[in-house]
Structure formats: structure tokens, C-alpha cells
């Protein structure tokens, strides 16, 4: 019997991939950074189990399925609310959970788009271009470049000290890390082609409620709402986009680029969702409302730094709890 701790997929998983913070540094070769859709939730889950914030974890996109730990260990759940059971008992998110050897985590349903399950030691699949993230469009990264399925066995790395039993992330700190709730407007900054919208279209974009369309996946979220027209025919030579960029195709229905979006594109980008709030957008599901509120770049960067401070605070609480 191997000494390597492993994670075994027992139940069929509807849509679960291995994700970390992605592989920046290769966009000039057409490789998106990719990684977790809700980067804040991923990092919090890792900190709770004693991992580096960017360790590889499970990103659970649709409810259902079961995984088993072959050896005892620690897990934590963050991100989308979940009806989750550990060996048949309901579990709470945002706290480290001890799992006995052979213990089974079952996910019944999700309230939100992406649940993160971090495991002490992290998922030790091979690193490609500095990341273990699964990139489905290219069929690489993660576990064989694909979604997990029943029978898969994933190695775990050596575990550091997780948060002690009984530790729970204080609710206000959970909120500071996860960001505004379901109905809060998402903070956006003006994008490179904001000038192509006239005053009416700009007002519509910032005031109208949009809804996430059924066509929402790891590459982009299409938004349904009043159509937006551009003042000029935008013949834009393709240029880089980024996760959070709201692009406006000729049809007038915006698409927000997400983690696995292509690196370049030719549609105008009038808005960009700030990095601090991109996880909140990722957690909205088809039919959920989306509203925007404009801030300047300096304010967006302050919001980003506050999120990072909140994660650091969590790591300090976890460290303090160990002693």
C-alpha cells in the first residue's frame, strides 16, 4: 500500500475540476491564466486547511457527487453554499473538518455557482507552466486536462498544520473575504473602449439590471438586459482582454470574460469588473441579477488590497489557533 495520501472519486461528479490560482506568465503565447473562478474562496479554503493560499483544490460547479479520502486528513469548504455531508453528517463551510481514513464527502446541492473543497496538502497533480489548474478548452492541466469522474484517484501533497479543530472563520471576516452578497452591485472601472458608448448607453449599462444568461461557463458570462449600441462602428484590431472585462459584441448583449476566456479579442470593452468583486460575479448563476457601480482604478485597487489583507488576517488567526 502506498504512503501517498489520495483522494478517490466515488460518486459521479457532474462538473468538478482541479483548480489553483492559474498560470499567469504565458498570455503572450495565447495561454489564459485560468484558475479558480472565485479566487478569494479558493484561497480561504486553502488557508483553513494549512495550505499555501494558491494550492490546488476541487472546484465543484454543479451539485452532486461524492469523494473519499483514503487516509485521514482535513478539508474545508468555501464559495457557494452547499448541502454537504461528511460521513452522513451535515457540515459547515469556512471551518476545517477532520476526515477519518475512508471518510466520504457528499455534495447534494449548491446555492451559488462554485464550491471549493480544499484538502490539507493540496492536490498534487503535475504542474504545467507553473500551475495545476485544469484548462478544459485546451485539454491540459489538472487531472488529465478534464473534469473528474468516478474512479479517479488523485494524489495529495504532504499536509502542514491545518487550523485546529473547532476553529471557524469569524462571520465578518468571511464577508470581508467573499465580498458583497447576492444582490450587491459589482464594482467596475471604465474599460479601454468606454468612449465608444454614448451617454444613454453608458447610463443603461450602469443602471439597468442585467441577468446572467444560461450561456455561462468558465470562459464567460453572457448578460441579458436592454441592448446597448455603440456610437461608432468599432473596427478594433484584436487586443488583450482580461477576466472581468465586459465586452460588447455587435448584438449589444454584454459578455463578461471569465477565467478561461481567450487572451485576445476584437470586441470593445467598455467596462471591467474589479478583481475584488470578480468572485462575487462568478458565484452568480443563470437568472441571477447583475448590476454595476462605477469606481475609479485607485479605489478598485484599494478594494483588492483590502481583500488581500482579509486573507492575511485569516491566515494569522489560523496560525495563532495552532499554538
Amino acid at each position: 500500500m502506498s504512503d501517498t495520501p489520495t483522494l478517490v472519486v466515488d460518486g459521479a461528479l457532474p462538473f468538478v475540476t482541479v483548480q489553483d490560482l492559474g498560470r499567469p506568465g504565458h498570455r503572450h503565447l495565447g495561454v489564459p491564466a485560468g484558475g479558480a473562478m472565485d479566487r478569494w474562496a479558493l484561497q480561504a479554503a486553502n488557508i483553513l486547511v494549512g495550505n499555501e493560499p494558491g494550492a490546488a483544490a476541487l472546484e465543484w460547479a454543479v451539485g452532486g457527487g461524492m469523494v473519499r479520502l483514503a487516509r485521514e486528513g482535513t478539508i474545508a469548504l468555501t464559495g457557494a453554499g452547499a448541502d454537504a455531508e461528511l460521513d452522513g453528517a451535515p457540515v459547515r463551510p469556512w471551518e476545517p473538518l477532520h476526515v477519518r481514513a475512508g471518510g466520504t464527502l457528499a455534495i447534494r446541492g449548491l446555492r451559488g455557482a462554485f464550491l471549493y473543497v480544499a484538502l490539507a496538502g493540496g492536490i498534487d497533480v503535475p504542474s504545467l507552466m507553473g500551475s495545476r489548474a485544469t484548462y478544459l478548452p485546451g485539454g491540459f492541466g489538472g487531472h488529465d486536462g478534464r473534469r473528474l469522474r468516478a474512479g479517479d484517484v488523485l494524489p495529495l501533497g504532504p499536509a502542514a498544520s491545518p487550523a485546529p479543530a473547532g476553529f471557524a472563520c469569524p462571520p465578518e471576516l468571511c464577508r470581508a473575504i467573499a465580498g458583497p452578497g447576492d444582490d450587491a452591485p459589482l464594482r467596475v472601472v471604465r474599460g479601454p473602449q468606454a468612449g465608444l458608448l454614448d451617454a444613454t448607453a453608458w447610463q443603461t449599462l450602469l443602471e439597468a439590471p442585467f441577468h446572467v444568461a444560461p450561456a455561462a461557463d468558465r470562459t464567460g458570462y453572457r448578460l441579458l438586459g436592454p441592448p446597448l449600441s455603440l456610437t461608432a462602428e468599432a473596427a478594433l484590431p484584436s487586443e488583450p482582454g482580461c477576466p472581468g472585462a465586459v465586452q460588447l459584441p455587435p448584438g449589444g448583449q454584454p459578455i463578461v470574460l471569465m477565467a478561461d476566456a481567450p487572451t485576445v479579442g476584437g470586441y470593445p470593452k467598455p467596462l471591467v469588473v474589479c478583481a475584488a468583486d470578480l468572485g462575487c460575479l462568478a458565484q452568480r448563476r443563470p437568472g441571477d441579477a447583475v448590476r454595476f457601480i462605477e469606481i475609479d482604478v485607485a479605489a478598485a485597487q484599494r478594494a483588492y488590497r483590502r481583500r488581500r489583507v482579509a486573507l492575511w488576517t485569516l491566515s494569522q488567526l489560523v496560525a495563532a489557533g495552532r499554538y
Partner: protein
């Protein structure tokens, strides 16, 4: 309109536009600017991404704010617009690697391309293979290099009926450009040949055969 234009792309990237055209001299300036930005080794910069007419610099906002990084990029951008030597640590515009890619010109669209251009298939192949192409940028999917410019006689709009799946290694043309498909993807370009050259391998370093600013010759095989 005056160039360069420096604008935020969200709170973790800055786009420096040197123009708004698709043409080789402007694109060469873009690659020189990208090289200059890399050589400057600004702290917190994680990605330097050249496109047709702009370079986008991705950075970690913990290291510096937008205004600070924009100020650091401004002199490099000004120098790139003026074609000043400061912009060009590698001053030769054709300094990128030259790749010779063997091609079997037996693509499913070769006959149609010949018919629509009024050329023989042999002449289509000759004109496609006689040029040295520049890699304008990579995008669409990992390893997909937009190469140009095509001989004017070969310029055709994209296919009206895109293929749901173009095979890996397909050599294709559309508009003024040519490319090799590195991954099986949907595609609307005209397939005129195929190659076994390994365009993309995620496990290789670097993963892509071609880099922005490189040059490519197709060699009939």
C-alpha cells in the same frame, strides 16, 4: 488621434496602444515595446502581451498602483512611437527566430481556394510558401499564431460555414493572414495543408513553438 495611449484594463493590467491598424511596421514597434517592458523588469509585472497595435502589461496591484506603473511605461511607449533606440534593446525588427515549417499542401479547401482566386492549386501553394511571415500575435487558443501578410492574390473572406472541429496541424488562410491550428477547435479559415510540427505542447518549455515577433516560412513537403 495621438499615440501612444495608455489606459487601464481593469485594476490589474494596462494597455499601451501605439496605433489602431494591422500592419507590419506598427506591429514590429509593438514587439520592440514588449521587449523593452520585459527588459525594464518592473516589479509585480506578471505578463507582457503584445497584440497587433498594443502591448498589455498585467501586474499585481500589491506592488504598485495604476498611476505609478503607467508613469513607468510612458517613456518606453513614447520611445516606441518615435522608434527611438531606447525602445529597442533588441533593435533589429527581424530579430525573432525564423521557423521553417514543413507542409503537405493537401488541405480540403485547396481546390476551392484555387477556384476562387483564379489560380492553379500549384500557384496557390507557390505563393503561400514563397513568403516569410511575421508572427503578429498569439491568441484564440494556446499556441495559435496570427501570421501575415498573405500575398494579396490569396486574400479571401472566412468560410461561410465554419467547421465545428479543425484538426491539429491544419494550415489555413483567411483575410490577409495564415495560421496553423495548434489544438482541435472550431474554425472558419480555409484549410490548404497540414503539418506535423508541434505547435503547442503544454508540458514543453516554452509550450508554444512560435512566439510573437518570430518569423515563419512554410516549406512544401
Amino acid at each position: 488621434m495621438s499615440w501612444p495611449r495608455i489606459a487601464p484594463l481593469g485594476d490589474g493590467a494596462i494597455t499601451v496602444a501605439l496605433g489602431d491598424a494591422v500592419e507590419p511596421a506598427l506591429n514590429a514597434r509593438v514587439h520592440r515595446l514588449a521587449a523593452a517592458v520585459r527588459a525594464a523588469a518592473l516589479p509585480g509585472v506578471v505578463d507582457v502581451v503584445p497584440a497587433y497595435a498594443a502591448v498589455t502589461v498585467f501586474y499585481e496591484p500589491l506592488h504598485h498602483g495604476h498611476a505609478e506603473l503607467a508613469a513607468a511605461l510612458a517613456p518606453l511607449a513614447e520611445a516606441a512611437v518615435r522608434d527611438a533606440p531606447a525602445a529597442a534593446p533588441t533593435s533589429d525588427a527581424t530579430s525573432g527566430s525564423l521557423h521553417r515549417i514543413p507542409v503537405r499542401y493537401d488541405g480540403p479547401d485547396l481546390a476551392e481556394v484555387a477556384r476562387r482566386t483564379g489560380l492553379t492549386p500549384e500557384e496557390v501553394v507557390r505563393r503561400h510558401a514563397e513568403r516569410t511571415y511575421a508572427v503578429y500575435l498569439l491568441g484564440f487558443v494556446p499556441g495559435f499564431a496570427y501570421l501575415g501578410d498573405l500575398d494579396a492574390s490569396l486574400v479571401l473572406p472566412r468560410r461561410a460555414d465554419p467547421r465545428p472541429r479543425v484538426p491539429v496541424g491544419a494550415v489555413a488562410i483567411a483575410g490577409r493572414q495564415t495560421a496553423v491550428y495548434p489544438l482541435p477547435t472550431p474554425g472558419g479559415w480555409h484549410l490548404i495543408g497540414r503539418t506535423d510540427a508541434p505547435l503547442f505542447d503544454a508540458a514543453r518549455t516554452p509550450p508554444a513553438l512560435l512566439a510573437p515577433g518570430d518569423r515563419v516560412r512554410f516549406v512544401p513537403a
